[in-house]
Symmetry: C2
Subunit: 232 residues, 2 copies
């Protein structure tokens, strides 16, 4: 079986909003409520661990969890200082409910448009290979720019992918990876990087272009448009 950690402990500084972005509304429901609903609806997901800032547990219960009826218990977990600390808190909480060989999915709370099919594909791939993340091949031209604002080079976009979530791993493997990263004081850009640093293989599968991360006010408008189109 598989379970999911939804990471929503971010402060949303880029949103120019007093409320963290995961609490903003998208077509009548908070972004985070929508994200949780996708995992709650998925038959392959057993438990859901929602990691939020320690000071927002009550707020989350009242403003996020109260907005929908849940099939599953949503287990609230207080997060840590950085994103990686929050994920690790989620992993520790999940350890009390799961076997070592079970699959844990780690997903950004601000990606509410994740498709059921993508969750299914990530679980299946992680069951086979132990670690799997979705992504999109880069289509833009990438430039390396120096601190004076001058272009240093054009980065070859061949074989470059943008990582998405959910990132899926065997619980044992990702926990070991995190312990290795903390012991070596490694800073992480995403969860797969933990295993890459640890020297374990991670498979990339095609993600979904709709599965955007909501980090700016423009993204909310984009998400609303995509949602309307998905629901058609």
């Amino acid at each position: 079986m598989a379970s999911a950690i939804i990471v929503a402990a971010g402060s949303g500084l880029r949103m120019k909003s007093a409320r963290p972005k995961q609490y903003l509304e998208l077509a009548g429901l908070p972004v985070l409520t929508r994200t949780l609903m996708v995992f709650d609806d998925h038959p392959g997901i057993e438990n859901i661990f929602l990691v939020v800032s320690p000071g927002e547990i009550e707020f989350c219960r009242e403003k996020i969890l109260s907005k929908a009826r849940w099939e599953k218990e949503i287990i609230l977990v207080p997060g840590g200082k950085e994103r990686q600390d929050s994920v690790y808190e989620g992993l520790k909480a999940a350890g009390g409910y799961m076997e070592d060989d079970d699959i844990i999915l780690i997903h950004d709370g601000v990606r509410p448009l994740v498709a059921q099919e993508l969750i299914t594909a990530c679980i299946a791939c992680a069951e086979k290979s132990g670690a799997c993340i979705p992504g999109i091949p880069a289509s833009d031209t990438l430039k390396q720019v120096n601190s004076d604002g001058m272009i240093v080079s054009t980065v070859s976009r061949e074989n470059i992918w943008f990582a998405q979530t959910p990132q899926a791993f065997s619980l044992k493997r990702i926990r070991e990876g995190f312990e290795y990263a903390f012991a070596n004081r490694l800073s992480l850009t995403d969860d797969a990087a933990v295993l890459e640093m640890y020297g374990l293989p991670v498979r990339m599968i095609p993600g979904n272009r709709n599965n955007i991360k909501i980090t700016t006010p423009e993204d909310l408008h984009i998400a609303a448009a995509l949602l309307e189109n998905i629901e058609k």
Copy 2:
């Protein structure tokens, strides 16, 4: 003064549409008509050179140019085989109207949401530095993936920017760059790469998140949402 080359000779294979993407409608007007309107409205732009596939010149006159009233003459230029050949045809056509030190902007026909302010900023920057492009700092995690679909590494996104257009250059400098590239059979991902290969400095300035390139059906929906938001 500055002039603009609008490149619209692409076939739009990713659009799953019989019509190239620049001819599809966005909120009641073809994408390409909208792109041209922004440059037509800009007081700093003198001439507009529209590069299209040789077989689509008439179609373009009837279906794109007929949809709006133009302040400026839109000069139709038949494009070449690859994007870089099309841009070079545009540069040759522009040479008949411009001085060597004038600024030429090269813009994707499928970026209709480019802001007037961004065009102004690109012209001002190119007048000062000779070559300037807009871009957005990378916010996603980038992964290098091998041909078996396994992640090889996490690419540091520090100082990595996604290039946008319009890319602005002194006419003489970019023409020389293209001649150098063709003479050395270099393949180019964008126009700034021509000067980078030639060893000339190119400045990066902040672009605009709305200024997306429309290459998939999802992009059309996103663009419609952004447009609605801009017009509010």
